[in-house]
């Protein structure tokens, strides 16, 4: 789960990291009052969760409180990468000498956390890694003794700092590591980490992604996930509540299958035959008839969907349960759209019998079924 910049900064500040003075505003008037209090110039930063906010026009600078109000109004009227702005963070504008990067994430191949730093901050770290790999400092963190002060000092040295600046910077690195561990961060970044013209450091932007699988340890955010679902469409949040993995795509063939890999392979195959999937939907292992019916309901009610392609290879999942789920959905809402069903595996015979008796045709091969689904769309669904 992604935290907003202001939420991450509140946490960083609690851990003693230097963050710019600032406050959250939910109206242009309030933004003006904050600018009055802080003194100008100020930075006005849209609180949205999309990346590339700066380039998309989500950060503006104002030289007076009235200008702060005007620019905030402008931000509230705008959409940053299709996200409406509802809150802005008004902060003192930093006098920047240099922009650095520091972050911690996981390195999947070594199964460890890794600290990454760069003297080239302010841009996407992946771009830096691709274009200037020599500007990246990486330290793999040994889980037995963690990220220690000397690691932090080594990194600060490699970024070219000495004296009190070295200690200040190392202190920020250590505190960020503590936040990463305490908050189960999947990714935590200060980008840019600003060196100001007076030689101090400040967290100019903060990013914190909490590992969704660890949310049970952070109940305050788990609640929020269910309240806001900021990035999910209504269908996606409905699916999430019911334990279905659903991702909305931009085509017209609804896809339902069991198992993430199989569903991804199904989408790829639909594309291969020049069709366009409307969604990814994994009913998971051992889906009940009820769950299957719910999944079908979700896809059938999508106005963009013209053909539904069900691809089930029963392992733990039983084909007879799936078949009953399909009939249940048929009874509830009817097959308002063309259906292509591929059903093989555990209890296949029973599943086929149930569907065939109800007049529903079942296919054996995933390829044949994918081709059929694409043909149906082309012939008008």
């Amino acid at each position: 789960m992604k935290l907003y910049e202001y939420e991450a900064k509140e946490i960083f500040s609690k851990y003693g990291m230097p963050t710019p003075k600032g406050e959250l505003a939910t109206s242009p008037k309030q933004a003006r009052d904050i600018a009055n209090k802080l003194g100008v110039p100020v930075a006005i930063k849209a609180q949205v969760l999309v990346s590339g906010r700066g380039r998309a026009g989500g950060i503006l600078f104002a030289n007076s409180p009235p200008e702060t109000e005007i620019l905030t109004r402008k931000l509230f009227g705008a959409e940053i990468k299709a996200t409406r702005v509802q809150r802005v963070l008004v902060e003192e504008k930093l006098a920047v000498r240099k922009e650095l990067y520091f972050g911690i994430t996981t390195d999947r191949s070594s199964q460890r956390y890794v600290a990454i730093a760069s003297s080239e901050g302010g841009m996407d770290i992946e771009e830096v890694a691709a274009s200037m790999p020599e500007k990246i400092v990486k330290v793999l963190i040994n889980p037995f003794y963690g990220f220690r002060s000397y690691h932090a000092r080594q990194i600060a040295r490699k970024l070219g700092y000495a004296g009190s600046q070295l200690s200040d910077l190392a202190g920020i690195f250590i505190q960020l590591y503590r936040v990463a561990m305490d908050y189960d961060a999947e990714l935590i970044e200060i980008n840019p980490l600003v060196e100001t013209t007076n030689g101090k450091f400040a967290v100019a932007d903060a990013r914190l992604l909490i590992d969704d699988n660890a949310l049970y340890r952070h109940s305050e955010y788990k609640e929020r996930l269910f309240q806001e679902r900021t990035e999910l469409s209504p269908k996606e949040s409905q699916a999430q509540k019911s334990g279905l993995a659903y991702v909305m795509l931009d085509g017209n063939i609804g896809v339902i299958g069991n198992g993430a890999g199989l569903v991804m392979a199904t989408l790829d195959m639909v594309h291969l035959y020049e069709g366009r999937p409307a969604n990814f939907l994994d009913v998971g292992g051992g889906a009940s008839a009820d769950k299957m019916a719910f999944a079908l309901d979700l896809v059938l009610s999508d106005p963009r969907v013209r053909v539904v392609f069900v691809n089930i290879l029963g392992g733990i999942t039983r084909c007879d349960e799936i078949a009953r789920g399909i009939l249940e959905a048929k009874k509830r809402i009817g097959f308002v759209k063309s259906m292509v069903i591929r059903l093989v595996g555990t209890n296949e015979e029973e599943g086929r019998r149930v569907l065939t008796e109800a007049g529903v045709h079942v296919l054996d091969s995933m390829e044949e079924a994918a081709m059929r689904a694409v043909e149906l769309v082309k012939s008008g669904g």
């Binding site: 460890r112 889980p143 037995f144 890999g261 989408l267 995933m366």
Partner: protein
């Protein structure tokens, strides 16, 4: 005799009294797997399908000589269960549980590595040596004994491809699921090393998906180590949108990292055959083995 496990493996099931644990214990026993004990804290002294249940792994190991553990324990307690198994001297862990927090998984893997313990999973369908033993939840009827080693990041796709192999008369030496979580114990390279040494294995199928770089590392390994058995790869998620998790916690393209394209290109550069569709895996391997 398979890689990592075989007919002589004696396993404990942690979380044996749960719905999943007991259901699959029955299926593993039916397959001929030696399940010697179960563990569920607070249920010691009971039995599941005639298998004695203990409160702790330590007791289970004292009474029975187990060397592997299959873990069905819910995610918040799974890391603890894994530590317990490692400390009790297990040599192979099969972690079926999915969605274990990254921080926990990192700790488990570090401890396992230090103790020389193989961790399969988390979020794995398990491992099967057709005709000998199954530690996991895969439907055994799709597998046949034979010469193809299979390593996969996806459960159902493994069944799809294994049944395709079986239909063409290509049985499997060992099928192992690496797991769908971001941090898993085994890499494709770890499995390739074993398949390289295994006499029964004459060819290898790798089933990858978007996210991480295990496929790229496997390609590098095949190219640089002169792996001398034919390898065919399939990568799921060619058309997956960036930044979205596709069912598995680990199946996500982040920025430029983890795309199917990067993996496919790496395989092709390494001379690994790449299947466009799951069914092509068996077809390509059949061709390779006829040569």
């Amino acid at each position: 005799m398979g890689v990592f496990v075989g007919g002589d493996t004696k396993a404990v099931v942690q979380g044996i009294t749960g719905a999943q644990g007991s259901f699959h214990t029955k299926l593993m026993l039916d397959y001929g797997t030696k399940i010697v004990a179960g563990v569920t804290p607070g249920k010691g002294g009971t039995q599941v399908y005639g298998i004695p249940v203990y409160d702790t792994v330590e007791e289970a190991v004292m009474e029975h000589e187990a060397n592997a553990s299959v873990i069905f324990v819910p995610a918040p307690f799974a890391a603890d269960a894994a530590f317990e198994a490692i400390e009790a001297g297990m040599k192979t862990l099969v972690v079926i549980t999915e969605r274990i927090p990254i921080r926990d998984a990192v700790e488990v893997m570090a401890y396992a590595k230090r103790e020389g313990v193989v961790v399969i999973g988390p979020n794995t369908p398990g491992i099967i040596v057709p005709g000998e033993c199954k530690l996991g939840i895969m439907p055994s009827h799709v597998f046949r004994s034979g010469v193809v080693g299979v390593a996969s990041r996806s459960g159902t796709l493994t069944y799809e491809i294994a049944s395709g192999l079986s239909v063409l008369g290509l049985g499997q030496s060992t099928c192992v699921g690496l797991g769908g979580d971001p941090i898993v114990g085994l890499s494709f390279v770890d499995v390739l090393e074993r398949f390289g040494e295994d006499e029964q294995t004459r060819a290898v199928a790798l089933i990858g998906e978007i996210g991480g770089n295990l496929e790229e590392l496997a390609a590098e390994f095949v190219a640089s180590e002169g792996f001398d058995k034919p390898v065919v790869a399939y990568v799921a998620g060619r058309t997956a949108p960036a930044g979205r998790r596709m069912g598995h916690a680990g199946a996500i393209v982040m920025g430029r990292a983890g795309t199917a394209q990067s993996k496919i290109e790496a395989f092709l550069r390494a001379g690994v055959g790449v299947a466009e569709k799951p069914s092509d895996v068996a077809r390509i391997l059949a061709g390779e083995l006829r040569r």
